[in-house]
Amino acid sequence: MSVTLPPAVDLRAVHKAFGQVQAVRGVDLTIRSGEVLAFLGPNGAGKTSTIDLILGLSDPTAGEVDVYGMTPRHAVAKGLVSAVMQQGGLLKDITVAETVTYIANLFSETRPVDEVLERAGIASIADRMVEKCSGGEQQRLRFAMALLPDPELLILDEPTQGMDVAGRRDFWHAIRDDAARGRTVVFATHYLEEADAYADRIVLISHGRIVADGTPAEVKGLASGRTIRATLPGAQEASLRTMPGVDGVEVRGDTVLIHSSDTDAVARRLLNETAARDLEITARGLEEAFIALTGDDGPGSSPESSVAARRAAPSGAGDAP
């Protein structure tokens, strides 16, 4: 019977436009039950727009969105899916316990208020006014609210934005404990370390499209290879580019940066056949993968992501000039 269960989320050719702005441009995505999935991408990539579609907060311009085989609104009303929103979403003039009680009474059936406060680690501040809570405490309050319907799918939109390191660690500790019980978790983040550390599947989004989808290791591997940095006066970019295994070349004065999937071979040729010296070979991390895969100045890129792309250009997107 469980074999035929519909996937947690099924997006088919989904588009979402706000006037002239194309926020989501053709996303196909199936999220299976039990996955901990990260939407990773720069600000303005379309992460929150995609989450809004899954939550039924907005309707797709084209394409279809199913959550547990039904419409998002229906799934929300049945308590199958709940969300921890980005910033805001709280009333300042009520207490922590009142906030949770408020939301609890909107559902026909929920976990007990005391239990979710306990699990979110805020039972000790239940009587505190929301406006007196720190950013981390407010975020754990949002988490407690999201736990109320005991949802199959929990969606977190930039959950740790604005939290300090300790707050972030505590928050993820609570989420991980929870996910260990089998809940499907989808979170959006632009923190690479978070996606790497806490997700078992990363979906990389850029300019409203999925540009990579896989385990953290696979996504890192998509932009694999290493970069050689060497001093080579009078380097000819065109001739370097013809070397076997070279994916990208950049000449900056006397310094050349060569991106390659086989840096050993390239290094050997550089040392044997050219005047190159001071060779350095560095591996690319998830950050480079992220930048390589998302860092173009295409339409719809936010100022921030363009800056990130420009700053990152030297380390070599595969398609760099």
Binding site: G56, G89, L91, I94, F107
Partner: protein, 248 residues
């Protein structure tokens, strides 16, 4: 029940009671107006219907206070929108109708404060006179009728940003109160203005609330005016609530 809950209403009332400033304004203002306009010895004891002018003014001011209270309470949804709370509510089974009902019933608590304050002032100043049952009937009518402006407050709260919704409500309320005949009897207006006034939202309600005191004929236009505005404003509030999922 679509998320309608007495527990939620209780929390909303607690929020209301914590907001002292709104409460003081909603209660003090109509009382001051009554003391200013309702006790003037040149007309206060003049007979009208089953009572006197002072009682008539008391009813007007209680209604004014109640609609101010409910409208300003309704308008607090603009703050909830600004904080993203209404977005949060959209990921619960809460239906627009249930939410609007909770909000309107909360606004009624503040409206009751205004009505009671004005009527107590009226009793203590010994000028207003009408049979006891009319004190109760007119107070109830003004109170329940103020629901209309709870809907107006909600609608405006969804339409306008938190920073200026109260100014707009203040202006709309003043215009509606004049055209509704709450401050000056409509018979003193030019005919053309009286015609226009009949289409404004406080016109029907004001006539109906005074009817038990004034007597005479009950015009069906009053009821029609009230029902049409109530339907429009509730529908408007629900419509805006449904659309209100914008990010903050």
């Amino acid at each position: 029940m679509g998320g309608f809950s007495v527990a939620v209403w209780r929390i909303e009332v607690r929020r209301l009671l914590r907001n002292r400033r709104t409460m003081i304004i909603a209660i003090a203002m109509p009382v001051i107006f009554f003391l200013t306009f309702g006790l003037n010895s040149s007309y206060a004891t003049t007979a009208i219907g089953r009572g006197n002018v002072s009682a008539f003014v008391m009813i007007s001011m209680a209604l004014y206070g109640a609609v101010y209270a409910t409208a300003s309470r309704g308008a607090t949804v603009s703050i909830e929108r600004a904080s993203g709370w209404s977005r949060q509510l959209r990921v619960t089974p809460l239906t627009p109708a249930a939410y609007i009902s909770i909000k309107m019933l909360t606004a009624l608590v503040l409206g009751a404060g205004s009505v009671v304050a004005v009527y107590v002032t009226g009793a203590l100043t010994h000028k207003a006179s009408m049979p006891l049952y009319l004190w109760i009937v007119t107070a109830l009518c003004a109170w329940i009728g103020s629901l209309l402006f709870a809907a107006l407050g909600l609608f405006m709260g969804y339409m306008l940003p938190a920073e200026n919704v109260m100014q707009v409500i203040g202006l709309v309320l003043t215009v509606c109160s004049f055209l509704g005949g709450l401050f000056i009897p409509l018979s003193q207006f030019p005919i053309a203005l009286q015609r226009v006034a009949a289409f404004t939202p406080l016109w029907g309600l004001n006539q109906l609330v005074h009817y038990p005191l004034v007597q005479g004929t009950l015009e069906w236009e009053w009821v029609l005016n009230l029902l049409v505005w109530l339907a429009l404003l509730v529908a408007g509030a629900i419509w805006r609530f449904r659309r209100d999922t914008a990010r903050v």
